[in-house]
Every structure is written in structure tokens, then in C-alpha cells.
């Protein structure tokens, strides 16, 4: 047996060896593999979470929110944590709108999960219930679900824009998600601790659309009523500001209930609405004089190379170009258009944007159809003059008619008025974007005169006429193409109007597909509906119409001779009213004009021009006034008009 000293040496060597191994292992763990272990430890007790960015708001031109992002919640329940399971379950079932039986079944599991999402109002009383865990999630919210639905579009389940403007503007609206690190326990549950934010989420841009909520509602409602009353398959309405190119309202409806944005994506043959473009080409190239007449051919005219004769519903013996537009004569337009070279006709149509996308910010905008002259057949020139062999979208038509209203300059229509960054700073503001000059200013004025005739007595758009404001408009009734063929007995009724005819503020295009009840002619279908929409727009307070400009436009009724003002005091009221002065007291007396039987507006205008203030009682036409007609009164005296409904 070895000596004790030797054994001790062995023990010492063993202990030292073990210590050395320990040091080496410690070195390996802490120095060589230190980073890996640190990362594993961090991964076990922390978690990276994505902080969702708030999606930008879409609002109308007046700031009314159309699409916004709300914080909503998924709800998780740990049944074993509930203090009073029976009472708590009743509260939970009520707030989450669950059947008690379904909730009971869910609470038998270890952890019940309800994805909802539930609004902050729904879950408010659950915040204080122990065992209820709320997980916030941002959700897109549309305050008026049916409001311009096809245009605004929707956000998909992945939070990205799926259709309409939500899709097109996704990169602007989405924002940039942030990230943070949170602490968690061994079981993976998050500690209630402040998250360490690595990057703050950046909210998306807010976008102000050009749409006017009130006009949009007027358009949608008018379209719904019209489709129901006429038992039509569908229709579209577009309202556009011709001076800026801003789309104020766009509505599309279909009997099958689909929310297709057909005003942008579906084309149709415009029929007589395109006659004004043939007239534009004739005037631009000086191929017709105002007094020149062609024969109406008794309403039936066979053209060489055309298999079917041209017909007119209400033929005139002879027609000028103005007559041809007023009564929408196919025969006269075809005869006039025969004077045009194909290239001239093509270039004018092209100049008005036919066959090219307008460039409006909308996904999958259709470009329509306009064939090159080299592809035309014999009757093509005639067909194009009366609105066949070409196709357009309602938005293209609105832009083209907008060019006539805008002194011949075609503008790019737009749906976006303003883009603001998260701090509220304006990053983009729409300015009118001219595409090209379609016709000269002089020709545009003459085209407006031609369109004015359509709404006068004897014109096809007579039923759209307003009593106090002049319209310039055109009707169109065209055979309808279904699956590439003309469907027998099916028509598209359409109407385009510039309101008012002088200094237009609004272009309205209405299209009704296959009206089946009553007449299918645009004169009886789309024209009166357009009139109704314009009356509603006039009566609405917040609609984007410049009433100061409207009030200075000569109204139709005023075309009848009125008593001339004496020129002393053009208007008594100024805004704000000036303080009384000595000059007021020395105003000469004058006779109160007789306005009995006159419409209120006309009477008010007459009295204002005479220097009186006006108060109106009742509505309709003026029955009498106080002071009475003929009585002497000072300028500035208030004259009360008593009106009664027109009998």
C-alpha cells in the first residue's frame, strides 16, 4: 500500500484535474459558446412582436371618414382563472353575443378563444374580469358599408388592400409596421412588463378623395330607385367637376347584387351620346355651316354598303346640324359625317379620349375600343358618327363631355384630392392635369350651344330641363351588346348633361342597362332621373357646387324680359351687412315692383335689384307682397313676399 503522502498527491492531482476541467468547461460555455447560449436564453424569456401600423383614413372631400382603422379585440378566456365562473360567463356571453350553451362548451376547454373581432365597446366591461385576456388587433371599418363600395374597395384578411382604392393605394395607406421585445415566462406567457420598442410603427398616409358624400348618396339613391322602377339590369352614374377633373360621385349598381365598379371597368356603345363628337369634328374642320340643311328622308335612309337602313323616330323634313343634335337624327348626322375623312373623324374621337384609358387612379380601368381607320369597313364612318363600332366607359364619357364644358381641354379625371402624411402635412394636392386640347375654345362653345338645344322644347332631353337653370345635354339610346352580339329588344339608355350650360360646374353621365318597364328611351328614363339628381344637389346644403357662381348664371326664367332696375342701388345687402350710415337715411323712395304670379327666385331678384330686402313666407309663386306693389318705400325696406303653391 502506498504511503499517505503519495495518496494525498493522487487526490490533489485528481482535484486539480477536476478543477481544471471545470475551468475549461466554464471557458467553453462562457467564452467559446457564450453567444449561442445567451441567444438561447434570450429566446426563451423574450419574444419579438410586430407592432401593427395604423392604416390611413380615406375620407371624402369634406373630411367625412369613408374608411378608417379601429382597434378591435380577439378574446381569450382561461376558465380556471375566473373568480365567479357562473356570473362571469353570463357577462361574457352577453358582451360577445354568444349563446350560453356555446360558451359553456367552450369553457370546458383549457383555454377558450374567440376571434371576433370585437369592438372596444363590446369588451369594455370584460377588462376587469379576471381570466379574460384581450388581444388588440387593428381592423378596417367602413362607417357606411354601401357608400361607394365598389370604388373604395375592401381590405383582405391579410390586412392588405384587396380591391378598389384600398388596393391601388395600399402602399400609401398601409404604413410601416414596428417591432418590440417583450418578456415571457417559461410557459411562453407574456409578463406584464413594458415592451422594449425596437422600431415604432409608422401609420399610413391619410387620403382625401374627391368624392362628395352627399352627391354620392344622391347618385346612389337615384340609381337604386331608377333601376327598381324601370326593372333595369344595372346602371352607372358619374358626376365630375369639369374645371378640375375631380370625380364628385360615382355609383354602379347591378341587379345581381355584385359590387362591380362598372363605371370604370365595363364599356358600352354610347349611341347618340357620341354624336356630339362627330359634330365636333365637323365644326373643327369647317365642314358644315350653321344654316346648312340636309333632308330628313322621311325617317328612313338606306346608305350604300350598310345592310340595314338608318331610321329616325321623329323625322323632320330638313335639318341643320343643330337640329340633328337636338332631335338626335341618325340620318342627318350620317349625311354630315360623310363629309369627314376617316382620319379626321378618328383623330377627333381620339382627342376626346375614346379608346384610351383616362388615367384615373383606379385598378383595371378599361380603355374602350376605337379601331384604326385602316381597320374600318364601309359603314364604319356612319356607325361611329351615331355612336356604334366604338365603346367607352361612363368615366371616359364624363371626361369627354368635361372637355366640352372646359373650353375644349380634356382633363385627366381623378379620385384623389389630397394625401397627408401621419403628421398631417399635405404631401400631394391635386391640380387639374390637362391631357390635350380636344377642340378649340370656340368649337367647344358652339358644341355647348348645340347641347343646349337638346334640353329645349322639342329636343330629346326636354324632360331633363330645369326651370331656373339651363342645361346642355345629350340623350343616347343604343342597342345593347350581350356576349359579343346585339341582344334583341335590349337597349342602353344614357344621358350626359353639363350643369349649368354657362360656366358648367358639373358633368353628369347616367347609364341604365336594359330598362324593361315603360320606355327604354333615354329621353324618358335617364333624362328625368338626371333632372331629379340635379334638383336634389341644388337643394342640398353641403354639395360641392359654387352657389355664388350659380347665382350669377342667367337663369332660364330670366330670359323673359324683366323690369329693368333703376340703377341706383344694385343690391341692398352686402355680406357682412355694412353699418347704417347717413347715406342710408337719404335713400330716395321708390315704388315696390309688382311681382305677383312670379316664381320666388325671380321675384326676389327683381326686388333686390330695386334695392329692397326680401323675406319669403310660403313657397310656390308670389300671391302678394307687403308693402304692396306700387307702394312707395325707401331702398333697404324689407318687402315680405307671400307665396302660394302653383296651381
Amino acid at each position: 500500500m502506498a504511503k499517505p503522502i503519495v495518496r494525498l498527491s493522487f487526490v490533489q492531482a485528481g482535484v486539480l484535474g477536476a478543477l481544471a476541467l471545470l475551468v475549461l468547461r466554464a471557458g467553453q460555455v462562457q467564452i467559446v459558446e457564450g453567444r449561442r447560449h445567451a441567444a438561447e436564453a434570450a429566446a426563451q424569456r423574450t419574444e419579438h412582436v410586430v407592432l401593427e401600423a395604423r392604416r390611413g383614413t380615406l375620407s371624402d372631400r369634406h373630411g367625412t371618414a369613408l374608411a378608417l382603422t379601429q382597434e378591435t379585440y380577439h378574446v381569450g378566456i382561461a376558465p380556471n382563472e375566473l373568480r365567479d365562473p357562473r356570473t362571469d360567463a353570463a357577462v361574457i356571453a352577453r358582451r360577445l353575443r354568444l349563446a350560453p350553451r356555446d360558451l359553456d362548451r367552450a369553457l370546458r376547454r383549457r383555454y377558450a378563444w374567440f376571434s371576433g373581432p370585437y369592438t372596444a365597446l363590446d369588451v369594455e366591461p370584460l377588462r376587469s374580469v379576471r381570466g379574460v385576456h384581450l388581444e388588440p388587433v387593428l381592423r378596417r371599418f367602413y362607417p357606411s358599408a354601401q357608400f361607394a363600395r365598389a370604388v373604395i374597395g375592401r381590405v383582405g384578411d391579410d390586412g392588405l388592400g384587396a380591391s378598389g382604392l384600398e388596393r391601388l393605394l395600399d402602399s400609401l395607406l398601409a404604413g410601416t409596421p414596428g417591432s418590440a421585445v417583450v418578456l415571457k415566462d417559461r410557459a411562453g406567457r407574456e409578463y406584464e412588463s413594458p415592451a422594449r420598442v425596437i422600431a415604432q410603427p409608422i401609420p399610413g398616409h391619410d387620403i382625401v378623395l374627391t368624392l362628395d358624400a352627399e352627391l354620392q348618396e344622391i347618385a346612389q339613391r337615384a340609381l337604386d330607385d331608377a333601376l327598381e322602377r324601370m326593372d333595369a339590369e344595372g346602371g352607372d352614374v358619374v358626376m365630375l367637376d369639369p374645371v378640375t377633373g375631380e370625380v364628385l360621385a360615382v355609383a354602379s349598381r347591378h341587379r345581381d347584387g355584385s359590387a362591380r365598379p362598372s363605371a370604370f371597368t365595363e364599356t358600352f356603345e354610347p349611341g347618340s351620346l357620341a354624336k356630339i363628337f362627330a359634330a365636333a369634328a365637323l365644326l373643327e374642320h369647317g365642314r358644315v355651316k350653321a344654316t346648312e340643311r340636309v333632308s330628313g328622308e322621311g325617317g328612313t335612309y338606306r346608305m350604300r354598303g350598310r345592310p340595314t337602313p338608318l331610321t329616325d323616330e321623329h323625322p323632320l323634313p330638313s335639318l341643320t346640324l343643330a337640329d340633328a343634335i337636338r332631335v338626335s337624327s341618325n340620318i342627318a348626322l350620317a349625311k354630315f359625317a360623310a363629309r369627314l375623312e376617316p382620319s379626321e373623324q378618328y383623330e377627333t374621337l381620339r382627342a376626346f379620349g375614346v379608346g384610351t384609358p383616362t388615367g384615373i387612379e383606379f385598378p383595371a380601368e378599361a380603355q374602350g375600343k376605337l379601331r384604326l381607320p385602316s381597320e374600318w369597313t364601309g359603314p364604319s364612318s356612319t356607325s361611329l358618327a351615331i355612336g356604334y363600332e366604338l365603346s367607352v366607359t361612363p368615366v371616359q364619357l364624363a371626361a369627354a363631355y368635361g372637355a366640352i364644358a372646359n373650353d375644349g381641354v380634356l382633363l385627366q379625371p381623378t379620385l384623389i384630392r389630397e394625401i397627408r402624411d401621419p403628421s398631417g402635412a399635405v404631401r400631394y394636392r391635386h391640380r387639374p392635369e390637362p391631357v390635350r386640347r380636344a377642340v378649340t375654345s370656340d368649337v367647344a362653345a358652339r358644341l355647348r350651344d348645340l347641347l343646349r338645344g337638346v334640353v329645349e322644347a322639342g329636343g330629346t332631353g326636354e324632360r331633363a330641363a330645369l326651370a331656373n337653370f339651363q342645361l346642355a345635354a345629350k340623350t343616347g339610346t343604343a342597342r345593347r351588346v350581350v356576349d359579343g352580339r346585339y341582344a334583341p329588344g335590349q337597349y342602353t339608355a344614357s344621358f350626359a348633361a353639363l350643369f349649368p350650360a354657362d360656366d358648367p360646374q358639373l358633368v353628369v353621365v347616367m347609364k341604365i342597362d336594359n330598362p324593361q318597364k315603360g320606355s327604354y328611351f333615354a329621353a324618358q328614363t335617364a333624362a328625368p332621373v338626371t333632372r331629379s339628381m340635379l334638383e336634389q344637389a341644388l337643394a342640398a346644403r353641403t354639395v360641392a357646387l359654387d352657389r355664388a357662381r350659380l347665382s350669377n348664371v342667367a337663369p332660364t326664367a330670366e330670359r323673359a324680359p324683366l323690369e329693368e332696375p333703376d340703377g341706383l342701388v344694385p343690391y341692398v345687402m352686402s355680406v357682412p351687412p355694412p353699418p347704417a350710415s347717413d347715406s342710408d337715411r337719404v335713400q330716395p323712395k321708390r315704388a315696390v315692383p309688382d311681382v305677383t304670379g312670379r316664381p320666388l327666385r325671380e321675384a326676389a331678384l327683381t326686388l333686390h335689384r330695386r334695392g329692397f330686402r326680401v323675406v319669403v313666407k310660403g313657397w310656390g309663386v308670389v300671391h302678394h307682397s307687403w308693402p304692396a306693389a306700387g307702394a312707395d318705400a325707401k331702398a333697404g325696406t324689407t318687402v315680405t313676399l307671400f307665396a302660394e303653391p302653383r296651381h
Binding site: T64, R127, P136, S193, R221, N468, Q536, R547, P570, W619
Partner: protein, 82 residues
């Protein structure tokens, strides 16, 4: 002694930050609740003020939309000349 003081400082700081985090969470929840309430009220106002709701009620009361002859736009005075 200094070790105890350091420990106390760390614990106090963490407690304060936890309280702040809890208050922040509560405020966020309250803000979300108020925003939700505002959105819901706006939606109800919009619905109640819509033509779909107002027009039938107005018609029941014997009211109707005015024709354009009944809308009086009084011309604005010309701007003063400087």
C-alpha cells in the same frame, strides 16, 4: 449596505416602470374605447342623417324635395373695388 441600496434602487425603478406601463395600457384601452364609441356614434349619425332614413320620414310629414323653381339663390354682391 451599498449592495442593499443598489438592489432597492433597481426594484423601485422596475416597480415604477411597471406602474407606468400599466397606466399606459389602461390609457390606450380607454382611448380605443372612446374612439370606438366615437366611430359608432358617427356611424349612427350618418345613418340617421342619410336620405334613405330622412326622405321617407319627411314624406310622411307632408314634406317633399323642392323643385328648382323653389330654390332661391340670391346673387352675391360684387366684391368691393379698391
Amino acid at each position: 449596505m451599498s449592495l442593499l441600496a443598489a438592489l432597492w434602487a433597481v426594484i423601485a425603478r422596475q416597480t415604477a416602470s411597471l406602474n407606468a406601463a400599466r397606466a399606459l395600457t389602461d390609457l390606450r384601452a380607454e382611448r380605443a374605447g372612446l374612439e370606438g364609441r366615437r366611430d359608432e356614434l358617427e356611424r349612427r349619425i350618418r345613418t340617421a342623417g342619410s336620405r334613405a332614413v330622412l326622405l321617407p320620414r319627411a314624406e310622411k310629414l307632408g314634406l317633399r324635395l323642392p323643385a328648382d323653381t323653389e330654390i332661391i339663390l340670391v346673387p352675391a354682391p360684387p366684391p368691393p373695388l379698391n
